[in-house]
Structures are given as structure tokens and as C-alpha cells.
Subunit: 405 residues, 2 copies
């Protein structure tokens, strides 16, 4: 079935019908006084909910609690804070995460088991519950609160990351919204740190999980800022069904439109995260075509955007193409030296393994843009994938050498 | 059998009996005029020779040629240059590498098939043979030439890296020498870029290969500067037998002493490489004890010294211990949060998963030293390993964003 997918002007995670959000400044990080740092997302009606979490053996208390609560597949609200990750905080951390959920549940008037939690910030410090308790009471929930929620999630992010799309397919109309935070510790897999996705579409749980997995594989699992993975990585997707109609399943005529719209939202947010990597000045998009298979294409694309040498070269607008080919070479993907083609934007710089004398002025201009597009064709098979990263700047180091002190 | 292993004062790769070295400035990189950049290592008598090479699918021409020549297990000389890696240079690169070997063979008067080659520098540029041809003739070989060879291998290295040890065990006496270059693109596995090892001990080939593999696993495979792997990574070990006696095999009474001395040389050079990482101001040594097994200990130790966040925190002398634990957590090694102990030097900063209130002044002093020692005890098993890295500084970015331009 044909679908029309449109960006919602000023869209947020609370754009879909029945979602509300609100945020306050609880003063969780003393060094960021006045910053919004505690937020709640809620739905008027209970949602079908699914999530994906960090692959690290060290899982934050909120990740442990939320994973457990999602086993029932239902949720009514999400509580989120920045400034403290509540990770590596032992049993006490679990108690704090559960209390944060209970406080929100009381405020909204739902079962505490239906409140999910997420935290981001410094690892190894307890949540300052003394500041969180009074702050929760001050949160005012509204249909316009999405933007504040996106701001409250930010740590070293320089911009809030949010979007929404409306979808029309056949007689169905629904909306998908999302908010994310990234910046440091961004790496496949589960490179998000935090992302909340909402929809008013009615969706069956198995299909919701399958669609989320696929969208995350194409988006948050294809970005890298610094090669680190966080104990807090969390992607949640809540569907409240308020757009009406029968639940969408894998066999529904609306299934493709839902998948496509969800991917669009996730890729949009993932690119924002990559572009806003700590210290980043440029977004790098690397597409690998002609790999032996999809998995090798993914490996190779991620190796290119993860290479510290490629990232530093692009920061300096340095046309060091050998580093791009070397990254593909060490990725493990099959390659034959004299088949490699490399394009910068529309300019071919390597053909059949040889450096071409392409226009230096054009290359210099492309390398100095806000978005640098690299495309490698391995010319061996049909595997194709795209990954996103950012340049490596002196600023990355400055941010991360002074985070705590 | 007991062994006495002593560092040789001013030891070089040419310290073992019968080895000679020499270097010239060939002007391979126009921007480094006058720098020694072309060198030869040779032995008076043919050597038993073994090597280990990059795991990247993109292998430089010298790596392809040298791997092939080592199948016979014999070598008489090594030619090396910096300024140009002769990688991603196609068939023409192979012809150039072979010519470089032949020029050296002619000068020394040995079979070209017994000359190995190694190149380091920019990827994707052809070797300037016009400058190399006349320069080879000017190389003067001497017993004192080892230091010049180590200098000629340098690219962004700030110091030459070389050492030698003398070994006495029973009635046997022999020497092992080595020279290495590192700096950028240093990462397990085969993180060396280039390392040449020599010995006058008589060693049987299978044992020589086994001893090299083990020593490299404990040294060059346990360091990381930037997560990148080079198409040029090469470790060569040449044994000319001039110390006399029966060839050492795995069963010989001297086998342990040989292994131990070789490990000592490799670890010494690996630590020099880590400490001299591009832009580095501090060496980071991370030991992981109590891992479920050796392989998990290795994984975890490497994750700690590879983490951009840990590296940046140590650059800023920032006591952000959560990042160290997070690196262990994402390494894939089994861990239980409330068993983790962490030490900085002799100061315990985490005990059974809890931050301890250790002396801030002492910690600050230790974090500002030239060498920062971290020790994590996972308290689960017997696996133990040590890895070395360096801090991540603004200077790393400056070096790598302006390498070519």
C-alpha cells in the first residue's frame, strides 16, 4: 500500500495523540545549575512497549529495572534524568531507580510497574534522591512538553534531538515521534545512549519489537562517535493505539509504511547524534557498496566512520584517501585492492585501486562542508550499507579530559 | 636452567654478533628533508628468519613480498624506509619493493631472495625510486649503525626505540636486540607497525616462530594508541647463530631463557611505542587480574587502554573511575559489579564495587605521573593480563589532521 510520510513541523516525542511530557531543573549536576535535567513522558492510555538495551556487561540500574518491567510489554510513562547515570551504583542504585519510578507513578496516578526509567550522566555516583523527590512534584505535563523533555536528556549534547512524522496509508493515519540524546560513548551496537520513540498507531507487540530491531540496526547501530559503549544505552518504543483501528501486525497492509516511517525517524535522530558527537564539526556519511554481503558492508562502513585516522583527516580537510581504504581493509570485509572505487560526494578519487587526479579545488570544498559523503565500492558483491560518524577534533579531548574535575 | 638477563648499555638491533646496520637520508618525504629515512640491517652469515604481519585485508607491497620470501625461512638482510608505506600501490608497488630489495642485495652481495623489505609512511603513494636508487649506494654498514637504523624507521615517533639484552644460561651466552617504530595506527592485533629483532643465538626455526608468537602476544598485541591497524604491520626475527652451539629447540635447556629474554625485549619496545603514541603525554598500564580466563583478561585489559574516554580522562588527570569499570563491562569479559576492585598504583579506589574515599592528594599525584598504573581485580577466576596505552591529547588530533596537507 502506498504511504505518504511527512515531517511534522516542530515535531517532538509528544506529537503522537495522547502523549504528554514535562521537565524541570532538579539540580542533579551541581555544575549545571538551572539546566532542565528531569523529565517525564506519559501516555493517556496504556501503551504496548518494547525496548533495546546496552550490550555491556555493566548495566545501569535503570537499564536493569526497565528491562525487567518490559517483560510484561506494557508501559504508561518514562522518567528520565541527566547529570547522573545511576550506573555502577549497586543495589542502592536499583532502589533509587525504583523510587524515581514510584514518585512519577504517584504523580500521574498509574501502577509503578508501568513506569520505565532511564538515566544518563556520570557513572559511579548515586542519584541525588533528595533533589529528585521534590522536583518530580513540580513537573507539569502537557502536550507541548516534548521539547523540554529533549532538553532535559542532554549532557554534552549541544542541541536537543527530536522529530516526528505523520503517516497516511490507505484509510490509516498515525504519527511517530522521537527524542534522543547522544554525544559521547556513541558506538555500535546500541550506540544511542537514550532514545524514546512514541506512536499513536495501534501495533501488535511482536511486530513492534521486530520493527524496532530493524530500524535500530539501520540507524543507531550504524553510528559511532568514540568507540565506547555506555552501561545506560536504551531505546524505548511506546505505542498507545490512540489513532484507532486494528493493531498493525507484520501481515497488515500498513506494516511497510510503519516500518519505513520508524526507520526514517531513527535515521534522522541517529544522524543528529553523529553530527553532534563530542567536539564534532562535520558529519561523516560512509556508504559501502559492492561488499560480499550485507554483514561485510556494515562492518566496512562502520570501520570507516570509526577510524580515528579517517576522523582526524576529515577534521583537517586532509585528502588522505589511503586511510579510508586501510579502514575497509582492516574491517575484515573481503576486498581486492585493484577493484576499489572511492567517491567523495560526486567526485571519484580512486578508480580500480588507483588514485585519480580529480579536481583539487572541488575536493577541498567538499571536505570543508558540514557533511562529508564518502562512498566506497568494493565491486565484489551486492552488500550495501551506510554508517554515520563525525570528525575527531581537539575539542573532543578537551570535553572528555575535564568531565568530572 | 637459571638465566641471567642483562640490558646491554646502548644496545641496538645490531648488538648481537655479526649484525650490521646503516642508514641515509634519501629524501623520500619532501617535507622531512635531511631526516634519515632509508636503512639496511644485515648479517654476516645467513639467518633463520620468521615474521608476523598485519591482519588487515589491505597488505602493503613490502608485507606481501616479505611474507612470501619468509616461506623459505632464511634471510640475510632487511631494507626499510619511512616516509612512504608503499601500500595500496598495486602491482607497481610490488615491483618497487622487489627492486629495493635487489639494490640492497647487490650492495651486500647476497641473493635478492634473502633480502626482506619493510616500509612505513603515507598510504597510497608510490615509492620514489628515483631517490631510493642512488641513496642505497651511499649506505655504509657498520656494527654501530643500529641507532641510525632506529632513527630512519621513525615517522611521527618522537624517539627512536631500540634495546638489547645479553643472556647467560649454563655455558651458553647470546644477545637479543631489537628496533621498533610505532606512534600512530597502533592497535592489537599486530600493533607494531615495524619491529626488527635479531639474535646471535642458534635457534631452530619452529621454536623461533613459537617464541616470537608468544612474545608478540604479550607485548605488541597488548598495546593500543588509536584503534587503527596498519597495512604495513611487520615483526621480523632473525637468528644468525654466531654465538655458537647447537640450535635451541623447545626442548633445549636454554629454551626458557631465550623465551624470557625475547619477551623482555618485546615488552620493552611495546611500552616505548605506547608511551610515544601520537600526542601522548602519559603511559597507561592496565593489569586485569581475577578474570574468568586468560582470554577474557586480555580482552578486558585491552578495552581499558583502548577506551577513548579513559584515555581522555587520564590526559586530564580526571579520577573518573566509572569509565574504567565501564570499559571492562563492555569488553565482553564476565564481571559482577559488586566484586570489582580497582587500584591506582598502590591506592585502592574501588572495593567490592564501591567507590572508596581514598586520599585525593595522593590520587592526583599518581594521575599526573608519566606512567599511570591501573589494576582491576574482577575476582572471578585466575585470568591475568597487562596492556599498555597512552592518554588522548589535543595533540593527537593536531598531528593527524595535518599529516598530508
Amino acid at each position: 500500500m502506498k504511504a505518504v510520510i511527512k515531517a511534522v513541523l516542530g515535531g517532538t516525542v509528544a506529537s503522537p495523540e495522547g502523549f504528554f511530557a514535562g521537565a524541570v531543573s532538579a539540580g542533579i549536576n551541581e555544575r549545571a545549575a538551572g539546566k532542565l535535567d528531569l523529565a517525564v513522558l506519559s501516555s493517556e492510555t496504556p501503551c504496548v512497549a518494547v525496548g533495546l538495551f546496552t550490550t555491556s556487561k555493566l548495566k545501569s540500574a535503570p537499564v536493569q529495572l526497565t528491562r525487567h518491567r518490559l517483560e510484561k510489554g506494557r508501559a504508561g510513562a518514562v522518567a528520565v534524568n541527566s547529570g547522573c547515570a545511576n550506573a555502577f551504583t549497586g543495589e542502592h542504585g536499583l532502589v533509587d531507580a525504583a523510587e524515581m519510578a514510584s514518585l512519577v507513578a504517584e504523580g500521574i496516578g498509574i501502577d509503578p510497574e508501568e513506569v520505565l526509567v532511564a538515566s544518563t550522566g556520570t557513572i559511579g555516583m548515586p542519584l541525588p534522591m533528595k533533589r529528585i523527590r521534590p522536583a518530580v512534584e513540580q513537573i507539569i505535563m502537557s502536550r507541548d512538553g516534548g521539547h523540554d523533555l529533549a532538553k532535559a536528556m542532554m549532557t554534552t549534547d549541544t542541541l536537543p534531538k527530536e522529530t516526528a512524522v505523520s503517516v497516511k496509508t490507505g484509510s490509516s493515519e498515525f504519527t511517530i515521534g522521537g527524542a534522543a540524546k547522544g554525544s559521547g560513548m556513541i558506538h555500535p551496537d546500541m550506540a544511542t545512549l537514550l532514545c524514546f520513540l512514541t506512536t499513536d498507531a495501534p501495533v501488535e507487540r511482536n511486530f513492534l519489537r521486530e520493527a524496532l530491531k530493524r530500524a535500530v540496526d539501520l540507524s543507531f547501530n550504524m553510528i559511532s562517535v568514540d568507540g565506547d559503549t555506555s552501561p545506560s544505552d536504551t531505546v524505548l518504543l511506546l505505542a498507545n493505539g490512540m489513532a484507532g483501528g486494528e493493531p498493525i501486525t507484520a501481515e497488515s497492509p500498513q506494516a511497510d509504511a510503519f516500518r519505513q516511517a520508524l526507520e526514517q525517524v531513527c535515521i534522522y535522530l541517529a544522524k543528529l547524534i553523529a553530527a553532534d558527537g563530542e567536539g564534532a564539526t562535520r558529519l561523516i556519511e560512509a556508504t559501502v557498496d559492492g561488499a560480499a554481503d550485507l554483514s561485510q558492508a556494515r562492518q566496512a562502513a562502520r570501520a570507516v566512520i570509526s577510524s580515528a585516522l579517517v576522523k582526524a583527516a576529515i577534521h583537517g580537510a586532509d585528502p588522505n584517501w589511503g586511510r579510508v581504504v586501510a579502514a575497509v581493509g582492516r574491517s575484515g570485509a573481503d576486498m581486492v585492492e585493484d577493484r576499489i572505487d572511492l567517491y567523495l560526494g560526486d567526485v571519484q578519487v580512486i578508480g580500480a585501486g588507483r588514485h585519480l587526479n580529480s579536481g583539487k579545488r572541488e575536493i577541498n570544498k567538499l571536505l570543508k562542508g558540514k557533511e562529508v559523503n564518502l562512498r566506497v565500492n568494493i565491486n565484489l558483491g551486492e552488500g550495501s550499507a551506510t554508517a554515520w560518524g563525525c570528525d575527531l577534533s581537539e575539542e573532543y579531548v578537551a570535553i572528555n579530559s575535564e568531565y568530572m574535575t
